[in-house]
Symmetry: C2
Subunit: 401 residues, 2 copies
């Protein structure tokens, strides 16, 4: 045990990102390993929101709309853009992930084929292990557009993609196992097959360098309340690259996406830019909380974040191996290059174990039927916490006999 404790102490002492933890409002008693579900609050969000409510809303009132509210979706989008490898003007924050998946899928299914003249494609391939909402929304989009659904895993696309494939919707990281897929390879395969690809970045945004522009990704959506720490249910983002914005015709054609929203024109005419991915009136309190939260990324190198994430999850797996042996099964990939920033552990009593851990101030979460998930946020989690979590899990299992 002391070997692991010593190693954790040394790793923490050498951690180049260690100082970032102070940017978060964390309970020192709690080991919080659920940043893959709900990121912890950056310290300055509370003060910012007091200003938004007291001054911007309370004193500036309606005058705040042209003073930074109306264009918040694009401005906050541009703060996320560098985290996903997008040049400015291609990311907008609006609505939920589910709603944005609907927008992007319908828009993608409406786009002209990747290769001119290559019409008649009618299949929507959906990640077979997807977080459920993506699949539900894909089914709805398919129903409304007459497309046909076809399931496939992101690393088993050969033999699935073909001349019928119109659009492929993939998760960058499997929410259950933490498996990280090869975005470059899957994107290339989709394009080689003549299909467009939509990536769900919910579990990877803020975890590692993502290169949407460089890889020629068609569309992407992502969540901001996990590793981006935007707050519970914070609005999601949509990526539409410049080259596809003119071809992006999304069905939630609300006034927020209009070319001239305040002209109150009777006909919908989409904005010529990323704003056309907006729908209704932007949700300002949540947007500005997210904007404040994103400031913790100032000066942070995603390569360092990724390096720490791999090391943290690897060290946790090592602790689990040493302290728990074969009493649990690690279902996340052992190869750190193929793992997001979570380690999922299987046990028949996973649900009860997560509760018992929480009683001992170690917070992970449960995914049905038998998975305990431990998320590691390199901006605030420590190697000491990884060790303590494994040790506490060992104790809980021992107590359960």
């Amino acid at each position: 045990m002391s070997g692991l404790a010593d190693r954790a102490a040394k790793l923490d002492a050498d951690d180049p990102l260690a100082a970032l933890r102070d940017r978060f409002d964390l309970d020192p008693e709690v080991v919080y390993l659920d940043g893959n579900s709900l990121g912890a609050p950056p310290r300055h969000v509370a003060a910012r929101m007091a200003d938004v409510i007291g001054r911007q809303w309370g004193r500036r009132l309606i005058r705040s709309w042209p003073e930074g509210w109306w264009d918040a979706p694009e401005r906050v989008g541009d703060r996320i853009a560098p985290l996903v490898g997008a040049a400015p003007g291609q990311v907008v924050v609006a609505d939920s992930t589910s709603v944005n998946i609907f927008k992007t899928l319908v828009a993608a299914l409406r786009m002209p084929p990747l290769r001119p003249g290559d019409n008649g494609r009618d299949e929507l391939v959906v990640d077979a292990a997807t977080f459920p909402t993506d699949g539900y929304i894909a089914a709805s989009a398919a129903e409304l557009t007459g497309a046909e659904l076809r399931p496939a895993l992101p690393d088993e696309l050969d033999g699935v993609l073909g001349e019928r494939t119109a659009v492929v919707l993939l998760n960058h990281v499997d929410y259950r196992t933490g498996r990280l897929y090869d975005m470059a390879q899957a994107t290339r395969k989709a394009h080689d097959a003549g299909a467009r690809v939509v990536w769900d970045l919910c579990h990877s945004a803020g975890v590692l360098p993502i290169e949407l522009d460089a890889l020629g990704v068609d569309l992407a959506v992502g969540c901001t309340y996990k590793f981006l720490n935007g707050g519970p249910g914070a609005p999601a983002f949509v990526y539409v690259p410049h080259r596809l914005q003119e071809k992006f015709h999304q069905p939630l054609a609300g006034w927020g996406g209009h070319r001239e929203p305040f002209a109150m024109a009777p006909e919908y005419e989409p904005a010529p830019n990323i704003s056309r991915a907006r729908a209704g009136t932007p949700d300002i309190l949540s947007l500005l909380a997210l904007e404040a939260a994103l400031e913790v990324w100032d000066g942070v190198d995603l390569a360092e974040v990724r390096a720490k994430g791999m090391a943290l999850t690897g060290f946790f797996a090592e602790c689990v191996d040493e302290l728990l042996g074969d009493r649990v099964e690690i279902v996340s990939p052992r190869d750190p290059e193929r793992r997001g920033h979570q380690v999922s552990v299987r046990h028949p009593a996973a649900d009860r174990l997560v509760t018992a851990l929480a009683e001992r101030e170690v917070i992970g979460d449960f995914r049905t039927p038998d998975v305990l998930r431990f998320g590691f946020a390199p901006l605030y989690n420590t190697y000491g916490e990884a060790r303590r979590a494994a040790e506490t899990l060992a104790g809980v299992l021992a107590a359960a006999g």
Copy 2:
């Protein structure tokens, strides 16, 4: 002039709702007459949000989801329900008005006909003077479902509704003129024609007693950031009466509306109740700000609110008549029964006048091309403010020559 001032003072002294103003955080220097666009902040919202961010998010973290976050959409919906004449379990708060109009229109177009066997209805009648987003979304819903759009005013439905009419989408109050339509009459006409009706309550919720259940309204949506004071861009609500919930199949079939969201089932199965009108993960910061804001309605009688709203707008119109004569044209109905809680005034220089008023701390707003809007929120506006606004407008116009 002093006659109006004396009358305003007397009206304010006799106002049974006068004490409610203290529930709001208002700048005493400012006459705020834009509560029809963005309601003023109830005083206790700031403290509530400090608790939501600091304790619920910061200390309870992910554990807050089962402790009042996940079911906030229904709980807050049930707080709105009595304001729109709905029994509990029929209102949910989620997403924006635009997104909810999309949900309700597609769901309404998918419903079985009002009269069994009466198939083949393919027309979607849309308020010809609607706030634009409703029309844009209606066009998108029509395109996706194969329906045909047909414009008509809410009080000119005769000769428009017929055997082709499937669904009618109407605004309860015209956003530009403040004209209040007869919900009972229009609903009856739609039903008599065999059509379903969807009401947009954005400018009427919080203004007067609404009787959705009693009138047999099919579906309704509404905004919470105007007279309900939920905050900028606060999430909107959807009303689906019990009798139609099983028939409500909305296209944004995200995990939030699933029968068992945390079962992570591969197939979408809608919740058996109002929850099926939810889509993605609920936006907690905004929802809980709205929940706090709705507490100002505790013990408030909507009949008194309506009486004061009619009196306030009537008194303002009187002040405008007396102080401005025919230098402006009041375009809102003179009959208080046919008027919402706003008075719209037409002037060719409306845009500049709104700016000049704001410089004198009187806040109204401008709607293209030539309308000044003055909204009166009976919970916090006073007769003195109505007089001061008219007087300031007279001064601004005189200064402009």
